[in-house]
């Protein structure tokens, strides 16, 4: 176990808490920068998807994991970002300008969705966002002049300072850069008063309010930020897919996003990334693995859904803290190595209390 003796306040605020952090994160950066030069194209494309989903995951994590507001319609924000990007770059706008527009528009939609959140909670909010998701999806399908309707819309490669970014590598770096920026922004928020206000709302609205936290403002802000991140992710998604259609932003996509942060580990920034890795890798692993299964099972339709569900169930049952929680345990175990005690991570009996009153 590492003990950190804090000698100054700055130390408490710093992002990397100790030398180990600095070392490991630098290494990670190096690996990510080196990836295009060593990884096969296929895996690089997957990595790009991971980064894109991680950005969306960060947004949803902020909303669900830190502010405690669940959204079952998050794909709508992804869609707003994607369509804005598609339309604007189609008109020849430069990448970053249209990205900013997408994020802002998405945030604006987020504010609108956030409005019911001011009055409803829990399942009601879930259904409100679900409903909103359906309506937005319908909007994409109906507003044919802009979105191309159900026929979908193809997307130009991003234009960066007059150059078209066509290679997988270049686009990967773009995503990597944006992911890093978004992550830093979220980390900064979380260690400052705004982030604390979010967490306070999650834990107890009534005392947050009595601490002077403007519930309506912060909830709306959380929705807006979350939507903006989803919008950015959506824009990148649009470029990566090069073709978007309304049904890519349906309820299943929303559930995927939710699933991602739950499996990653609710309430941790790491979780967004781990969840994204999982979400992208899982279908690939199933696809790779099914060749080794007996024909009757391996080739059966529905196998993927079963595995998907089973993994989700397994996680909720055995690792409610998600991949990140598992990682923390492994790390503690390694650090403590010979002194690890058995019951250490034994789950306490816990008892649910109505969250209708919060």
């Amino acid at each position: 176990m590492r003990f950190i003796f804090k000698t100054s306040y700055a130390q408490d605020i710093r992002l990397a808490k100790h030398g180990g952090h600095v070392f490991w994160y630098s290494l990670l950066c190096l690996v990510l920068i080196a990836a295009p030069f060593v990884a096969p194209e296929y895996w690089l494309a997957q990595l790009t998807f991971v980064l894109i989903y991680a950005i969306a995951g960060l947004g949803l994590m902020l909303l669900a994991g830190f502010t405690g507001q669940f959204s079952l319609g998050h794909a709508a924000f992804l869609g707003v970002g994607a369509y804005t990007q598609a339309v604007l770059t189609g008109m020849g706008w430069p990448f970053f300008l249209s990205l900013a527009c997408g994020a802002v528009l998405s945030a604006a939609v987020g504010v609108v969705v956030g409005l019911p959140a001011l009055r409803v909670k829990g399942i009601y909010l879930g259904i409100a966002t679900l409903a909103f998701g359906f309506i937005v999806e319908e909007g994409f399908a109906r507003w044919e002049s802009v979105t191309g309707g159900n026929a979908g819309k193809s997307v130009m490669p991003p234009q960066l300072f007059g150059h078209a970014l066509e290679t997988t590598e270049a686009f990967y770096f773009l995503c990597l850069g944006l992911a890093v920026v978004c992550t830093l922004a979220i980390l900064n928020l979380l260690r400052s008063s705004t982030g604390r206000a979010f967490v306070a709302i999650r834990d107890s609205e009534i005392s947050a309010q009595s601490m002077g936290i403007h519930l309506a403002y912060y909830k709306t802000l959380s929705f807006a930020l979350s939507a903006a991140l989803a919008g950015i992710a959506g824009a990148l998604y649009a470029h990566k897919m090069q073709f978007i259609s309304p049904d890519q932003f349906n309820i299943l996509q929303s559930i995927d996003l939710l699933l991602m942060i739950v499996i990653g580990g609710l309430g941790s920034v790491h979780g967004a990334f781990l969840g994204a890795i999982f979400l992208i890798l899982m279908p690939q692993l199933i696809a790779l693995g099914k060749d080794f299964l007996p024909e009757a099972i391996g080739q059966a339709p529905g196998l993927q859904a079963v595995i998907y569900g089973a993994v989700l169930i397994t996680f909720v049952l055995f690792e409610p803290m998600g991949l990140y929680g598992r990682w923390l345990k492994i790390r503690t175990w390694l650090q403590l190595f010979p002194f690890y005690r058995k019951g250490m991570f034994k789950r306490q009996k816990s008892f649910q209390k109505s969250d209708r009153l919060k």
Partner: protein, 280 residues
């Protein structure tokens, strides 16, 4: 004691369905005093607190408050502004942020004093950094003041009831209030801890210059620290005055204190106790 009025409630009433929980209550709290509300259970004390912190809106009546920007009608303020006006409170049933550490709870208490907005926070500008450090300094002051050093990094969920009461008070102090509302600060504390609480309340008034409005059932604490006491019963004012005056008021004794003070009558009569003496 200065006679300047900090908070004035006039003819407050609030009705829940058929129940008049607070019925035409008027009182004033003066700057620099400890003002205590007592009364039987269900008298409406907590409801008065909830009216002041704008969780409830009175059916009739008004509350005036002298804030940093002069006198204003508190009843016109939205709930989240109350803290910004310098009114902090604790809750009877403890409402802490369970999944956060004590320090984190206190830092949330600093919310009204925050100096930076969204963008500065997102970029973590030097100003934000400085503000963060200042917030921590202040929180540490409060931690020192209330002897919470030992618990600084513990999650609230794992704290015993008594410590939580103190943490909640600490959080309220972190907002740097003018007026502190304490709902039953000593409930769940033993004599010794209640004793500490008494000292703290006195220090809060004398050293920090914060006016205290509290609800309390422990009469020894009440008489030790209060300057004035208001007794309520069934939503109405029963008596008002110095602790001594109120405690000897016949209505208060009848409804609230009870007449017998000696509790030795609870003891098992000597004879029948014999059956249980096998242990000795």
């Amino acid at each position: 004691m200065s006679a300047e009025v900090l908070l004035e409630a006039r003819n407050l009433s609030v009705r829940f369905g058929g129940l008049l929980a607070v019925n035409d209550v008027s009182f004033d709290v003066r700057r620099g005093e400890v003002f205590t509300l007592i009364g039987p259970n269900g008298a409406g004390k907590t409801t008065v607190f909830n009216l002041i912190s704008r969780i409830y809106t009175p059916t009739s009546g008004a509350i005036d408050y002298v804030g940093p920007k002069g006198r204003l009608a508190l009843t016109d303020q939205p709930a989240h502004q109350v803290a910004g006006l310098g009114i902090a409170r604790t809750f009877q049933n403890i409402e802490l942020f369970e999944h956060a550490s004590v320090l984190h709870n206190l830092l949330i208490g600093r919310h009204t004093q925050r100096e930076t907005g969204l963008w500065a926070d997102m970029l973590f500008t030097p100003r934000t950094r400085a503000a963060e450090i200042r917030a921590r300094e202040k929180a540490e002051e409060v931690i020192d003041f209330l002897d919470l050093q030992h618990y600084r990094d513990t999650l609230v969920a794992g704290l015993p009831y008594g410590v939580r009461k103190v943490v909640e008070m600490a959080r309220a102090l972190c907002t740097e209030p003018q007026l502190l509302l304490l709902d039953e600060p000593s409930s769940g504390l033993n004599v010794e801890e209640t004793d500490d609480m008494a000292f703290w309340i006195q220090d809060i008034r004398d050293e920090l210059g914060i006016t205290v409005l509290m609800v309390e059932h422990d009469m020894s604490l009440v008489s030790r620290v209060s300057d004035r006491v208001l007794a309520m019963n069934q939503g109405q004012v029963l008596a008002m005055g110095t602790p001594h005056e109120v405690q000897t008021h016949s209505g208060v004794v009848e409804a609230y204190l009870g007449t017998i003070d000696d509790v030795s009558n609870l003891r098992r009569p000597e004879g029948s106790a014999a059956a249980l003496e096998v242990r000795a």
